[in-house]
Every structure is written in C-alpha cells, then in structure tokens.
Amino acid sequence: MAERFELKCRECGKLWGNEPRSFCDECLSPLEVVYDYEAARNLFTRERIAAGPRNLWRYSALLPLEENFSSALDVGFTPLVEARRLAGRLSAGPLYVKNDAVCFPTLSFKDRVVAIALAAARRFGFQIVSCSSTGNLANAVAAQAARSGFDAWIFIPADLEAAKIVNTQVYGARLVRIAGNYDQVNRLCSQIAENHRWGFVNVNLRPYYAEGSKTVGYEIAEQLGWRLPDNIVVPMAGGSLITKIRKAFRELVELGLVEAKTVKFFGAQATGCSPISLAVKNGQEQIDPQKPATIARSLAIGNPADGYYAIRSIRESGGWAEDVSDAEIVAGIQTLAETEGIFAETAGGVTTSVAQKLIAQGRIARDETTVLCITGNGLKTVEALNGAYPLDAAIEPRLSVFEEYLNGRVAAATGD
C-alpha cells in the first residue's frame, strides 16, 4: 500500500486506496481500514504510546491519519474505574467501568469516532460535514465541526431527547428533524450523500470514522496495565463498537503489546430494539430488522449496519448477548449511579442491567475480570428518570422545622 493504511472490501478483498467511500462497488459489501502492520510495529509500542498525549492521539500509529497529522481536539483517554461497590451489588468478580460518560468534548464515546472522521473530512477536502444520528453523534459532530471550522448538517429522528437536540443546535449546526425512525434517517442520508459533496461521517467516511472506536479498546488494555480483561460488555446500536474493540485487542496482541488471550465479548441491547441479541440467542447468522420501541434511543437502530459482524464477533469470542426491558434500563442507571457515582445515559443502563443478567446466568463467571463500557452521559437522557424521584414539599429555613421534617422521615423509613 502506498500509505500505511487503505480501504479494503470486507468480503471480496478488493483494495480501494483512500477515498470517501463506504462500500465496495464490486460486491456492495462494507469497507474496512487495513494497515501495514509491519510498518506499525516500531511505531505502536508501549513506550511511544506512554510518551504521547493523554488523549486518543497517543494511538495515532494505528489510526487512519496522514503523516504529520495533528489535532487540537482533546478527545478520549477517559477513566477506567475499578467498580468494587458495583461488583458487590451484582455479586460479581472484579469489575471495571470504562467511563465514556465523561469523554470530551460532548460526553459520549462518539467524540472518538468523530475526531477520526473529521481528520478524513479535512483530508478529502470537504467543507460540509454531516451525519445521521440518534443524538450523541449529532452532538459530537456539531461541537467538533465548530472547533475545526466545518459547516455541519445533522439529521435526526424527530423524537430525540431535548438535551440531545439543544446540544446540537448550540454549536451552530443545521439540524434537520426527520419524521421517521433512525433507520429511515440513515437511508435518507445515504441517498443525500450520493447527491451532495458532503462528508457524512457515518456514511461515506464511515470506514475511517469507525476506526475511532478502537481507541476504547486500546485504552482499556493500557489502563489495565497492558493486559486484556476476561470479559467485556458492550452496548450495541449499529454493532460497530463491539467489533472495533475486538479489532483493537487483536492488534495489541499481534503487535506484542499484550499477551494473547481470549476475551469474551458480550453484547447489550434493549429488548425494545434487540435485532442483534435476538439473532445471537436464536443462533441466527442474519439480522431480522425491528421497529424500535425503547427508552434507549441511542441504541434504537432496528436494522444495524454492522449487525452481521457483531454477531460473528460475539460468537467467535465465546461470548453472548442479552437484552433488558425499559424498567431494567432505569434500574441499571440507578444501580450504577448509586454504587459508583456515575450517571450514565439509557445505553449505560442497558449495559449495567445486561451485565447483571449475564452474571446471574453464570455466563460471566464470578472469578473473572469484566469491563463494562459506558458510552454516554445521563444528563442527556434525564427524561428516562421522569417520575422516579418525586420531590418533597419545600420546608421553611428554620432548624426546628428541619428537625420535625427529619423525625418524620425517620418515622417513615422505619415504618413507625
């Protein structure tokens, strides 16, 4: 390859060089970025990574970036939290939470993929960047486009959470609300991408964009002291993240940064939109698309583009997939917040409750190390908790009133 990376068809293997393109003209299958791993061997080392910046650019040697690329965007390298109290609550072995609820700049893991996609957009000369989004991606594209000097056009299903809409508009992005679900928005965007020279981060820039998800995997391994966990639980919408974390782990093994190990990949979905978990549980190779009906709107993709590969990743790793109800999603949000002080969005409730289910089923063993991927921030989906915490009447600012109030609360709590 002329560069240290290029696009390759996942199915027929045709090489495409580097261009804004997401599928192979020969067989209409998806494209994937492949690297010259021999050339990367001397560049992608523990020492060089440790000497890099404390953000995702420390992994640039295995990201699709041009030589001498530099970015002012401070994205990634989020905390890996040892979650002892959560482990106690779930009767689990060692648990870690990869906390992308505090990924910068827009508080979701989508900041990672957008950082890489905008590097590609710059390289290919786009002035307008765009995306179809269930919200988090919209926020990330809007914010990073503003800082990087792109114009942004964002397409969303009309019923998104209010916070995700304001968090897109405030950056000056053009917001187009579509009367339809995400799958319909996505199909429209693939048609728009044919008619306009726009850089759609998750359409014609998708192979580059998706590589950004690998940095979740690199960080987990580095933060565990350059070792891999036994299990990882990953929320699934389009199904890309789980496949890319697996790719990251395999690259780390291949290049000798970690010891080889079979990591079991567990996929998490909401029961109201569970095409991937259902296929895994039914032993199917193919996805049956669904019409989403779940409070986990960031996971509400009924026709997941990477579903086929997600199924394979889970199955080949010896993992499994599960899904949880809306009530369980809310309980999962509360459990994570109450035990670890991390307020995750609905997708995080899905991950936490699915982990609980898998531990109870014995699919995640109690003596193994498990990482939960939290991908977004609860402040963006506060609607999910509507009615969960009724407010008491306000009390007068007087000590005697408070003492009376306290006695009443104690009595209520003890049932006297």
Partner: protein, 108 residues
C-alpha cells in the same frame, strides 16, 4: 402492472446509466431474475450464490424495508417505488484475514 426500481449510483454502470427502471415482476425473487435478464452484469452484484439478495443490500418498497412487508413473499403493486440501497457497514469481524496481506506488503 408496472413499478419503478431506483438504481443507486454504484450500480448505474450496469444499467447503461439509467437511474430508474420500469419493471413488471410479481415478487422480489422474480425482480432479481428480471433485472439480471435485462442487465446481466447487475445480477451478480445483487444476488449471492444462493440467489438471495446480498447480505449488504437493502431493498425498500415505498420507503419501507421489504423485510417488514414479507420479504420474498411480498407481491409488488402498481406504482410501487422500489429502492436498492447498499448497507453502509464498516465493521471488522476477523482481523487475521486483514493482517496477512498487510504483513506481506510490509515484507516486500
């Protein structure tokens, strides 16, 4: 009975540049056969070895995924608008297959 099939840019080189084609098949399997008969090169791009629509090709009828309408059992109606849309996945299931050619390239 006639309906329209919209052809994506990537496949127009197989349809003499036509953006849309008038078709008269009753069902999806028949439509794939009709298209292959009229534009032989398009057949292998839309169908896999088993004759089914390729995994990464989505077929929509009047904005709805044909799988929600019965898939192969759906009977086309007069005036239907059929869209062929390549899926836009970008995933990675087996890295080993990707590593090998890259390493060979590096060995040269």
């Amino acid at each position: 009975m006639a309906f329209t099939v919209e052809i994506p840019t990537a496949l127009r080189r197989f349809t003499d540049g036509a953006h849309s084609i008038e078709c008269a098949s009753a069902s999806l399997p028949e439509l794939l056969t009709e298209l292959a008969a009229r534009y032989p090169a398009i057949g292998k791009h839309l169908r896999d070895d088993a004759g089914q629509v390729r995994r990464f090709v989505n077929i929509y009828v009047n904005e709805e995924d044909i799988r929600f309408l019965g898939g192969n059992d759906y009977r086309f109606r007069e005036g239907d608008r059929v869209m062929v849309v390549p899926s836009i996945a970008g995933g990675s299931a087996s890295l080993q297959a990707d590593l090998r050619p890259a390493r060979r390239a590096g060995d040269k």
